[in-house]
Amino acid sequence: MTPLPVLLPGKPALAGSAREGWREFFSGGVLVAVLAALAISILAGEARAQPGIGASPGVLAILLKWSPLIFQGFLFNLMVSVLSMLAGTALGLWLGLGRVSQFVALRRASGGVIQFFRNAPWLVLLFYCMFLLPFSITLPFATVPLPDAAKAVIGLSLPVMANVAEIVRGGVGSIPLEQWESGEALAFSRSQIMWMVILPQCLRRMIPPWMNLYAILTMSTTLISVVGIQDSMTLARAALVAEGRTELFIPMYLMLLSWFFLYCYPIARWTTVLERRFRVRV
């Protein structure tokens, strides 16, 4: 930093390489802090465990006993998140295109749908779908069963659809008008411009907020435990009731928190890296 009033060269464009991302991840003392908290709680639990009751196993042993089952529930959470994301993205893309369409009626209708699903709480939408969707769809040629998990996926994909539509709208809106005009000058039709010129450019810009949405969705999959679907939360609670020991509460919940953390934190870091890399350079 020179005290002279000269214009210093601007900061170099951040590399945003994957390796830099990993270094940040590991150097984040956050991970260490979370695991340390988990370890401390387990040790505290062990220390408080009833002494003298011969066969009473330690806290760590109980956690390990139930972990495989709860982990299966966690994988179920992840599966629901992936399916909801795919469904929501597919629907949201169309809804977003409707939002920027040239037909006023379509724009207004899409805007209304987006506002509705963005305003509704995710848990209420989940309840709604769980209770009011039928258990099977009777098509003319077959009956398609709709299991609970499918209803949950539908319930979660609705807010995702609305948010993806907003991301698409933001992405399309960030492309300068010149692109549209150049397309017109080259005699492209509007839909050709949209699909061949605009959307490929938007894709990169839409990825960071899209990944952010995925992280939020993954964390919201725990809501399905409130509507009665077996996932990692319900299994953890069932395990706590089956064991019935108070000193298990903190370690069990910390374990669950750390699993979600270990899954979502890298996504968050990667999102930051990508944001920097895909930053719009003018």
Partner: protein, 248 residues
């Protein structure tokens, strides 16, 4: 008033559409109390999370390394873990471990009730996001303003209070409003720890009256309307506080 009640009673008897909150005074009072609790919960959590956001953004600029690390750890923890699990962790696990106090009946109860834990957990959750939002707002304030203030003799705290924060607030208002809307939606999670907010009240009603379909529709419409009103008010405020010529 009585005619409205009669109409809905007829609707139930003739068509099986049971909207008991309109004709049954107990259900109606429960529903309205739930709505009021949701509003109260949202307001308190918003204010608390704003305080956390301001203090956290200030601490993020601290010269002492571990302070910055602590704030960063707090943010990453609350942003990357599910709010429902956080709520459960606080109410069941942490609440259990805290030293109990004697209540009026001479029983040992935890010092913080379920409503208290809901407020705490949701405020911490929203506060983490607010710190990030304020940080982005602060970074958007031109360095020249800060330097000018420093050259006028403001201390670091003075610059933060009188120059940075007001501007950062106006710049980050859209993002803050977005966070507020999310907070209102997240209050529904308190249902899982039996906080008597709107979703809880509705579920009580449909468990007893067995009118799930109708209550679900009422609930959806109420929440969407509530948040639409909030968005409209916030939009007005945003436009009023918009910094002319500044578009992020």
């Amino acid at each position: 008033m009585e005619r409205i009640a009669d109409f809905f009673r007829w609707l139930n008897d003739a068509h099986g559409v049971n909207l008991s909150i309109f004709y049954d005074s107990l259900d109606r009072s429960r529903f309205l109390e739930g709505l009021w609790t949701t509003v109260e919960l949202s307001t308190i959590c918003t204010l608390l999370s704003l305080v956390i956001g301001v203090v956290g953004a200030w601490l993020q600029g601290a010269r002492f390394g571990p302070t910055r690390g602590l704030v960063q750890a707090y943010i990453q923890f609350f942003r990357n873990t599910p709010p429902l699990v956080q709520l459960f962790f606080f109410y069941f696990a942490v609440g259990n471990e805290l030293p109990h106090v004697l209540d009026q009946h001479g029983m040992l109860v935890p010092p913080i009730s379920n409503v208290g834990w809901a407020v705490l957990s949701l405020s911490l959750f929203a506060g983490a996001f607010n710190i990030e939002i304020f940080r982005a707002g602060i970074e958007a304030v031109p360095r020249a303003m800060v330097e000018a203030a420093e050259s006028l003799g403001y201390s670091r705290l003075g610059v933060y209070r009188h120059v940075l924060l007001p501007l950062a607030f106006r710049i980050s208002l859209p993002a803050l409003n977005n966070n507020l809307v999310n907070l209102v939606k997240t209050t529904t999670l308190a249902y899982a720890i039996a906080v008597p907010e709107l979703l809880y009240a509705a579920s009580q009603i449909w468990s007893e009256e067995l009118n799930v379909r109708e209550m679900m529709n009422v609930l959806l419409v109420t929440y969407v309307a509530l948040i639409a009103v909030l968005v409209a008010i916030m939009g007005r405020w945003e436009r009023a506080l918009h910094i002319p010529g500044y578009s992020p």
